[in-house]
């Protein structure tokens, strides 16, 4: 494994985009080892301004943990996260936003959920009204503005969560499987919102299990296996010709167990 790991990371760094965007965020040897268990292990990762990075990997590979480490929700055991050249701090977190797999809705109306997120960032008055209006319109929730957020459907809730995150005008948006439990129509609405956000220049980091979604929305792909980054590269290349055994097995729909000396395959049920 270590050789693969080394190679792919180098490979990732060695594939600069034709016009390399400035570096926005960097993980340097980031590890998370509660009680010594290496759940996230020595991750080096560059995130460039305006790119859309898709994080893939099997359940338990450490995708969500990595995202929380990058966002600053948990502190790494070792290594560091660098945001625009400086260590990640509170101010940096305010330039980021995150949408969780299960949207967290405050026990308030749709509009109050939006107002809250803006209020805690000190945005009030006409500016807040303008942004709330805009968010409602973008998420097509105008008619539901006064409704309690928690009685919305799953798709509506996720649209609200995404609109709430975008209303804060982040430079970078983290998305942790935002469409995992949504129907196709709701998924499409979310994807459209993400694309719109990206078109406005927002950098995207998104976890998904959906290869089609990765192809539709991803510029780059980072593939995690057992807490390690085993492969990064342009989305099309990684999806078509994965170089790591783990990514290849996963993308081909096989089980890949690295605790055996050699790659082991078995048919998926």
């Amino acid at each position: 494994m270590p050789d693969v790991c080394l190679k792919t990371i180098e490979g990732g760094r060695a594939t600069p985009a034709s016009a390399p965007a400035p570096l926005l965020m960097q993980a340097r040897g980031v590890s998370f080892r509660p009680q010594g268990k290496p759940l996230v292990d020595g991750i080096d990762l560059d995130i460039r301004e305006g790119r859309r990075l898709i994080v893939m990997g099997s359940n338990g590979a450490g995708k969500s943990l990595l995202m929380r480490l990058l966002h600053g929700l948990i502190a790494p055991t070792s290594g560091e996260v660098v945001w625009r050249g400086k260590p990640l701090d509170r101010a940096a977190m305010r330039e980021q936003a995150m949408v969780f797999q299960r949207p967290v809705m405050l026990r308030r109306s749709v509009i109050a959920n939006l107002q809250f997120a803006l209020a805690v960032r000190g945005i009030g008055g006409a500016e807040r009204r303008r942004r709330v209006e805009e968010a409602l319109e973008q998420a097509r929730l105008g008619d539901l503005a006064k409704r309690p957020a928690r009685v919305l459907s799953g798709g509506e809730q996720q649209r609200l969560a995404l609109a709430r995150a975008l209303a804060c005008t982040p430079r970078l948006l983290f998305l942790d499987e935002p469409t995992a439990s949504l129907d196709p129509a709701s998924t499409l609405a979310i994807e459209n919102l993400i694309s719109t956000a990206h078109a406005r220049g927002i950098t995207i980091v998104m976890i998904t299990h959906d290869k089609g979604q990765a192809r539709r929305l991803g510029d780059d792909i980072a593939f995690l296996h057992a807490g390690r980054l085993v492969e990064t590269g342009p989305a099309a290349r990684v999806l078509e010709t994965p170089s790591s055994g783990a990514a290849r097995a996963w993308l081909e729909g096989r089980l890949y167990l690295d605790d055996l000396s050699s790659p082991h395959t078995s048919p998926t049920p």
Binding site: L73, M93, V104, R107, A119, V120
Partner: protein
């Protein structure tokens, strides 16, 4: 006991006819209890929210203490408050002994730990749901407590209700610090105690039914409010 129905009828009749003495007693009961509950909430809600929403050294000990204080014996609280407010005590110069204020103080001491301990539980549960989102949004400590209290408001109504139930039914503390003085500190529970000691069991029981009815009305009102909140998924 066969004329209990008659006595109860008479007691209800007295209320309906607006019997001045009985109305006075009920009004004082409500004033003392509601004041104590409101003050206990002003102290206990933020306190419980702080313990529920933040990790700090000694947090487990504070939680254990709050839970233990829920079981404070009213007579002990009454005695301590009496000793504080007695002319011979440190707060004697305030001259609060045998006043409704003394009763409010005693009940506040009884109710605050209940409100704080139950609030901690409610806020901790809600916080475990909100914590990541709050951290992601960069919600500061004060906003966090305020938002948790606001979002838990319907659950916290039930918490206040538990405090109300304890206070309104309490007799041991208020009879010591209030003195059960007619027209001054006589409330429902001390009247029931007095009538029982006079052997007027039917009247005491009828007053108990009136007390129960008040508790039922208050509970029903809060539960109706909460039911509408549940429909909005606010609770």
């Amino acid at each position: 006991m066969q004329d209990f129905a008659t006595t109860l009828g008479n007691a209800i009749g007295l209320i309906l006819l607006g019997d001045a003495d009985l109305i006075e007693i009920i009004a004082l009961s409500l004033r003392v209890t509601l004041s104590a509950v409101v003050i206990a909430c002003l102290i206990g809600l933020p306190l419980g929210a702080l313990v529920g929403a933040f990790r700090f050294p000694g947090r487990a000990a504070v939680t254990v203490l709050l839970n233990a204080l829920m079981g404070l014996p009213p007579v002990v609280v009454g005695l301590v408050v009496y000793l504080m407010l007695s002319a011979a005590g440190p707060l004697g110069p305030l001259r609060l002994l045998y006043t409704p204020t003394a009763m409010i103080i005693a009940q506040t001491i009884l109710v605050t730990p209940i409100v704080a301990a139950l609030t901690r539980q409610v806020i901790e549960d809600l916080h475990s749901e909100y914590a990541e989102q709050f951290a992601s949004l960069g919600v500061g400590p004060l906003d966090r407590v305020a938002a948790l209290l606001w979002d838990a408001r319907y659950s916290l109504l039930t918490v206040a209700l538990a405090g109300f139930g304890r206070a309104v039914a309490e007799v041991g503390a208020v009879i010591i610090v209030g003195g059960n003085i007619n027209h001054v500190t006589r409330v429902m529970t001390t009247t029931i105690a007095l009538e029982t000691s006079k052997g007027n069991l039917e009247l005491a029981l009828a007053l108990g039914v009136v007390l129960l009815a008040i508790a039922v009305i208050v509970n029903a009102a809060v539960m109706a409010l909460r039911a509408s909140a549940v429909r909005s998924a606010y609770a």
